[in-house]
Amino acid sequence: MSLESPESNEETLTHNVEFELNGSPERHCVPTSATVLDLLRNSCGKQGVRASCERSVCGACTVLVDDLPVAACSTFAFDVDGARVETVEGLAAQDGTLSAQQQAFRECGGFQCGFCTSGMLMLTTALLRQNPQPEREQIREWVSSNTCRCTGYEMILESVERAAELAGAKQQDQVSE
């Protein structure tokens, strides 16, 4: 925000937050009431992190904190002090090459309006780190923590399966190299 609110004349408690964002160090002074969503969207310019219900229900704002998916809207910024935070902006390689998850969601049509997509991709990233070859049932369970209003989910489930396949193939390539 470009101007200070009148309440900032009163003492607004602030806090320094240092964390790693998509592999790079970040340091911001934020109000203690700031959420990770505020921090990432407003202070770090990560607009790929979407705000929707802001009640920790829909999962549109899902980001990874130390590999675990969390609702950025309902996590205090000070909670990520010292943590490793990942957003959708960190998935593709520097040269723009899409990650396995991104490729899979593209290929399988795992998105429509795109508003849930960042969250779904981060959820997929976390799942595949925990289990590189998840069964359909586990995928359903994980995807059920986020809301998509457009697709009817089947194409998202297929996207996650395809992401596992692509990530597996990539790893095989690396091994055989």
Binding site: S5, K46, L91, L98, G114, F115, C150, Y153
Partner: protein, 779 residues
């Protein structure tokens, strides 16, 4: 799981890129897609609104002086600040920017504040003092129509509505608290006398929120003389027109920019956040004002129409349908919004997919003290299909017909007229019914206890009425293409599909086509992104523009190369002559035009012809059909329904993008599934109990049956370019009735209300036992 079925495969080549990912896929999977909520302007202010705590009350006084003098507040809008400005609404102009004499529902906007940040705006709202005198409120449509019910609009608001054609009529304010009434009639009343059976049943339809993930949001920069908005709307030009009317400005002083939408489903038509943001900006010396609603506010802004539908159908002893009468009451909520249009369509679509000799429909939109209802995916057809299809199943049970056979006997044939003056049916409806029935094994199943199957069909006139669509295609010297038209991308894949139509016409890779940003100063005119009209209406304008560009390129090349115009063709920005010799266009263009080259530009236009013989002013562009078949297992002890199988099918006519078509049908089907089983805005004496994300249950991945599939048919009879038809709404229509019949088939419970909760199913099972003389009926 998905499948493609072509009973009559069109001969022409597949459309370029139809197997490939959508063109907006990369920006959406990288998080780079820009929505209205992402728009930021230097010095931007933030708006918040004060909402009514009462369902109906007279406003005695508003004291906003403390809010106005709070540091950081730039403007406050109350009824004092909107004097002279007009109210808005589709046909009935009844909704003011903020409440004037009275508030009409819990959540009605009373005042709005712009401040340097949202926190200050909230603090200012707390300082506004409003004195109300509570008035009696009414929430039930039947109660609202009683003469003793409070008049929600004591003075009738301004209304304008269409002339209509043969058999149809409409009028505003026809009864107490009725905002609009639509009637349609065809055939002789005497048909009833020839019926062997007449059944009358009443059905109720529930009300859902759209729950688009991107809330209503607008950034406005406005002075008394000029307005610019960036806003999340499905209809940029109708928005410009409405804002011009509300603010009394010429349309060329208003500019509407529309980024990507994070879902719409019908909700984002007509002013929501726009007028408030504009007025606040005008009062803040033209500084940009952002008004982004919270999800809780979205719940208080618009919903689907709940409805009571009474259907009387007459038939011959052999099951031949003869006559149908319907009386539909839609709960329009406190302001008319799109209710008149929804009433029109709900009434008109009551015949369903069947042949009747006599049709008589009346649909009334009733004003109540609840959240306004408006456009919602399916648009009246969802309500109509629920009652129409449910009654077919009730009749089948009463007369001992198989529900599928009774449907097949009465379903209209391909090419048969829907009603006189209307477009003939352009899909093989029976083919689709059998297709979905067979996909779940309906006809050769073994009966298992507590398991049942149902099949249903939904039909709606697609493509909208009075939709002139324009498009522009521009190609640079190097063959890079712009498509410029006002179809809003809200998830349906319209931008990608239209770019593919351009690519197909120009013979280039779809990746070379960019969909230009939409702003009403520069984008060609269009009536709005609704009625599944993107491909079948705008597609024509786009194709014509691309054809015209191609002609102009070929004319130029033929003249320049001194070749016979008829013997050359365009392929990948290269001219190919009769012998197969190729001529690259960029050097040719540079040679001819010099300097920085040239840009080939052409416009396209399409509008369906109006006809006074067509009931709704013009024959519809196409028929949007949804077929579905469902299998359920019901626990008779608890009434819990498990959906074992769900198959949905639509007819794309011709597929432009496979993933897009599939996604539209499956997404629509899941809206239907949720409406069938659990999703609902719950009220207690008018108070909304679940108006927030945590309490409002939308479908999750775990709610989707393990056997869920869609079948995209390509029957090839569509009136759109390449034989296409529209998609996106049809898949929602048949789901609830198919599931309802599956429940009836499994348990005998014939439900007439949505959603079919365990409680309703349990009670339905008990009622069925009584009906069938079961011993434990009174247990």
């Amino acid at each position: 799981m998905t499948g493609f079925v072509n009973p009559r495969t069109p001969d022409d080549e597949p459309i370029v890129g139809r197997d490939r990912p959508r063109l907006d896929s990369t920006m959406k999977v990288t998080g780079r897609a820009v929505y209205t909520v992402d728009i930021e302007k230097p010095g931007m202010l933030h708006a918040k609104v004060l909402r009514s705590p009462y369902a109906h009350a007279r406003i005695l006084s508003i004291d906003a002086s403390a809010a106005r003098s709070l540091a950081g507040v730039t403007a406050v809008v109350t009824r004092e600040e909107i004097i002279g400005l007009h109210s808005y609404g589709t046909y009935v102009k009844d909704q003011p920017i903020v409440a004037t004499e009275s508030v009409r529902y819990v959540g009605d906007v009373v005042a709005a504040v712009a401040a340097v940040d949202e926190r200050t705006a909230f603090a200012a709202l707390d300082l506004i003092r409003v004195e109300y005198e509570q008035l009696p409120a009414v929430f039930d449509v039947r109660a609202a129509m009683e003469p003793s019910a409070p008049a929600i609009f004591p003075d009738q608001p301004f209304a304008a509505y269409p002339e209509y054609g043969d058999g149809a009529s409409g009028a505003a304010h026809t009864a107490h608290n009725v905002s609009y009434e639509f009637r349609y009639e065809t055939g002789e009343e005497s048909v009833w006398a020839d019926c062997d059976y007449i059944f009358e049943d009443t059905f109720t339809f529930s009300r859902m929120n759209h729950m688009h993930l991107e809330p209503f949001a607008t950034v406005a920069e406005a002075t008394a003389n000029e307005i610019e908005v960036w806003t999340s709307t499905q209809s940029p030009f109708p928005m410009r027109k409405e804002l011009a009317r509300v603010f009394g400005l010429p349309e060329n002083d208003i500019r509407v920019n529309v980024p990507l939408l994070g879902g719409g489903f019908g909700a984002k038509n007509g002013p929501k956040t726009e007028a408030i943001a504009i007025r606040l900006s005008q009062l803040s010396a033209g500084r940009p004002v952002r008004y982004c609603m919270s999800t809780e506010e979205v719940f208080l802004t618009l919903s689907q129409h709940d409805a009571i539908l009474t259907v009387k159908s007459g038939l011959k002893a052999d099951g031949e349908f003869m006559a149908r009468q319907s009386r539909v009451l839609l709960n329009g909520g406190a302001y008319a919004d799109a209710s008149p249009l929804v009433a029109e369509k709900a009434g008109y679509r009551m015949p369903g997919a069947y042949r009747w000799k006599r049709i008589d429909s009346v649909c009334q939109a009733v004003i109540t003290n609840s959240v306004p209802a408006g456009a919602y995916r399916g648009f009246g057809a969802t309500q109509a299909t629920w009652a129409s299809e449910r009654q077919v199943d009730l009749i089948a049970e009463r007369l001992g017909f198989d529900p599928l056979e009774l449907r097949l006997k009465n379903t209209k044939e391909l090419g048969e007229e829907f009603v006189p003056g209307e477009t003939p049916i352009d899909s093989d409806l029976k083919h689709g019914l059998i297709l979905v029935a067979d996909a779940i094994g309906y006809r050769d199943r073994t009966r298992l206890s507590n398991r049942g199957m149902g099949v249903a069909i939904g039909i709606k006139d697609g493509g909208g009425v009075n939709k002139p669509a324009q498009a522009r295609v521009k190609v640079t010297t190097n063959g890079d293409v712009f498509l410029n038209c006002a179809l809003v991308e809200m998830g349906q894949g319209g931008h990608s599909a239209l770019c593919q139509i351009v690519a197909e016409t120009l013979g280039c890779d779809p990746k070379r086509v960019r969909y230009a940003a939409i702003d009403t100063d520069n984008t060609p005119f269009d009536q709005g992104t609704n009625a599944s009209s993107g491909i079948a209406v705008m597609g024509h304008a786009v194709r014509q523009a691309a054809e015209r560009v191609k002609c102009s390129v070929l004319d130029t090349a033929a003249e320049h190369l001194m070749l016979d115009r008829q013997s050359i063709r365009l392929d990948d920005w290269t001219i190919v002559d009769a012998e197969g010799t190729t001529y690259e266009l960029p050097p040719l263009i540079m040679e001819r035009f010099g300097g920085t080259g040239f840009e080939f530009t052409a416009d396209g236009y399409y509008k369906a012809r109006s006809a006074s013989s067509a009931p709704l002013e013009a024959p519809c562009i196409f028929w949007e059909i949804g077929w579905a078949a469902a299998e359920v297992e019901v626990d008779p002890e608890t009434g819990r329904v498990e959906l074992l199988q769900l198959v949905v099918s639509g007819d794309a006519g011709k597929v432009v993008n496979k993933l897009g078509c599939r996604g539209q049908d499956e997404g629509a089907a899941v809206f239907g599934l949720a409406q069938a089983l659990f999703e609902e805005l719950r009220y207690d004496d008018g108070e909304l109990l679940n108006g927030e994300a945590l309490l409002y249950r939308v479908p999750l991945a775990e709610d989707i049956p393990r056997r869920f599939s869609s079948i995209t048919q390509e029957q090839g009879h569509g009136a759109g370019p390449f034989g296409t038809k529209g998609m996106g709404e049809g898949g929602m229509l048949p789901i609830a009735p198919a599931i309802a019949q599956a429940i009836a088939d499994a348990t005998g419970a014939q439900l007439t209300s949505l959603p079919m909760t365990p409680e309703r199913v349990y009670n339905g099972i008990r009622a069925a036992r009584v009906r069938h003389g079961g011993a434990d009926g009174n247990a």
